[in-house]
Subunit: 245 residues, 3 copies
């Protein structure tokens, strides 16, 4: 049986942002692809969610659709959903794939994994909001997230973002079950080599976060944090390379 | 109005060395490109220049030609000219682009940013010269600067180099105005991933120097320190990516 | 006179594993290529060899075939053979090329250059064997060595591996002659950027081992530790780039 792919988006995004990647995966014969939107994400939804609420929304999705043999792909913030889902539904998961995604150490929160200056900027945006959310400033998006786009694509994709609930970034995750059983499941890390949403060097995605997965298969491609928008064809090929047995 | 590109060459080079890059930029519709030669560089010119003399020569060029809305690109040593020019003419500059270029910390000189063994070798070459200049040894050029060329191209380009005045490498730059206002201007760093003119690791161009620019847009390409000779077409495409809004 | 290439395989391999690289080198006009098998490697041979036995087997090969003007390429473990061969036959060697290969510091052994957890795993495999050899587990091969292959290629190439004698990994090499004369010979390091056979970061092939060669020419390509199987055409092109004057 060919595997089922479940793609978990990052902060400010929804499942719809994977559309071009889904199209490209089909050219590789991968057609059983799910792109649920995490609780609290998108427009017109309650934003006062915890990290557990976010996890539960995807657990519910997987159970409702009775998904098995799942290659679970998480982008950025979505990596924390991947790790927690493996704790909740280990028997339904075939492989974990992190795409420039957070791999938290035990009892850390997402904020612990961003440089202090970025953390302070994001928290001040949350404080300035009416509903404890963080809206993505265009300049940050254009320079740090999607530097490989032309300005038109940067503007168009920025218009599709939605405010990110701040609380899930503060919630600490024990992840004891995750780290106790991590070596029982296949693990891959996809690293976009021009991704500076987290600065390269001391805080880098790779090898700092990737190594927490204990030697995951490494797949790299050129591009920014947002290759799902800037190069969905290449990204899909790399997801295939990362997701296969 | 489309921007004006000003390309600042590195040590041992002159503005003429950008010729193939200029041709390649034209294929991207970028035709307003200036490649002045920094004071003290090239043949038949006085070599007893300071770093300030070098900066002043480019300030004069920009003013004489009344250049505005400038995307300023600096290669290697030329990065220090870029930083200083932004101090002198901030209102004429649209974006700063560093191509495996030095970004000095406050009050450093260029020599502070090279490993001690390389620094000693360069200084001994200056001491051995009649006019306090450093001539590029062929072996250093071939192995450390242009390792991606075949030997014929390495020889041909080496023949076009000229002795580098040593004093600008010793002059310390306060750069207080630069660092006070750096976040007001767009910044990009182009990193050639096989560049070992500065060894990779502890002394590397990226992320060590790039991070001094506070999260510049990152653009990378395969190649040595001398992609302006070895792959001008690809380099031009990357300059476009780095230089656009 | 065009140079003679001698390709030294890594652990678990034999000279026959270079076959597709040899074919690809011929398209670059490089036809004088030797791929001897190191003592103790392959099937049906005595496994109780020391590192010196391994070196001697290649010294003998070079002398028997009276090879001169040799570009010596070593992969992985084969890097230690390259370094020792340069000590034994310096006048016959034109250039040293390391392909994700071990460059030992003075008086180290190969085991010193692998992370403790990997070292313990390999030693326990040796202890479990009847003849002090290490057989490659499929999961280790597939995930850490050849992650860029599909599973069919991973299985086919795994079937061709043979048990690695453990003693050469424990033998310490003085390498005093090597480091005394290293700057007299051309040196290149080829780094496959997705190679995680040694984890990236603290223990990485590049720049940790490459820098011991004192600024070798750097050549990089995408791929795992086993590009000789997964991308022999690209690897051959990079060997040409690394091996030329």
């Amino acid at each position: 049986m060919s595997p089922t792919y479940v793609l978990i988006h990052g902060s400010w995004h929804t499942g719809a942002d994977w559309a071009e990647v889904v199209t490209a995966l089909a050219t590789h014969g991968i057609t059983d692809v799910h792109t649920p939107t995490v609780a609290g994400h998108g427009v017109g939804v309650p934003k006062n969610v915890t990290h557990n609420d976010c996890v539960q929304s995807i657990v519910d999705y997987v159970l409702e659709h009775d998904l098995r043999d799942v290659v679970l792909v998480g982008h950025s913030y979505g990596g924390t959903i991947v790790s927690r889902l493996y704790e909740e539904l280990p028997d339904r998961i075939r492989r974990l794939v992190y795409l420039n995604a957070f791999v938290l150490a035990p009892n850390e929160c997402l904020n612990d994994n961003t440089p202090p200056v970025d953390r302070a900027a994001l928290e001040s945006l949350a404080l300035a909001s009416a509903d404890d959310t963080i809206s993505m400033p265009f300049e940050l998006w254009r320079e740090r997230f999607i530097g490989d786009a032309d300005v038109a694509l940067a503007q168009r994709t920025h218009a599709g973002l939605s405010p990110e609930p701040a609380q899930p970034w503060r919630d600490r995750l024990p992840l004891d079950r995750f780290y106790d059983t991590i070596e029982r499941v296949g693990r891959s890390y996809i690293n976009c080599t021009e991704d500076i949403s987290i600065p390269q060097g001391e805080w880098s995605w790779h090898p700092r976060m990737s190594q927490r997965l204990r030697n995951p298969r490494l797949v790299q491609l050129h591009g920014s944090h947002e290759t799902l928008f800037t190069n969905p064809t290449l990204l899909a090929a790399k997801i295939v390379e990362a997701g296969r047995d």
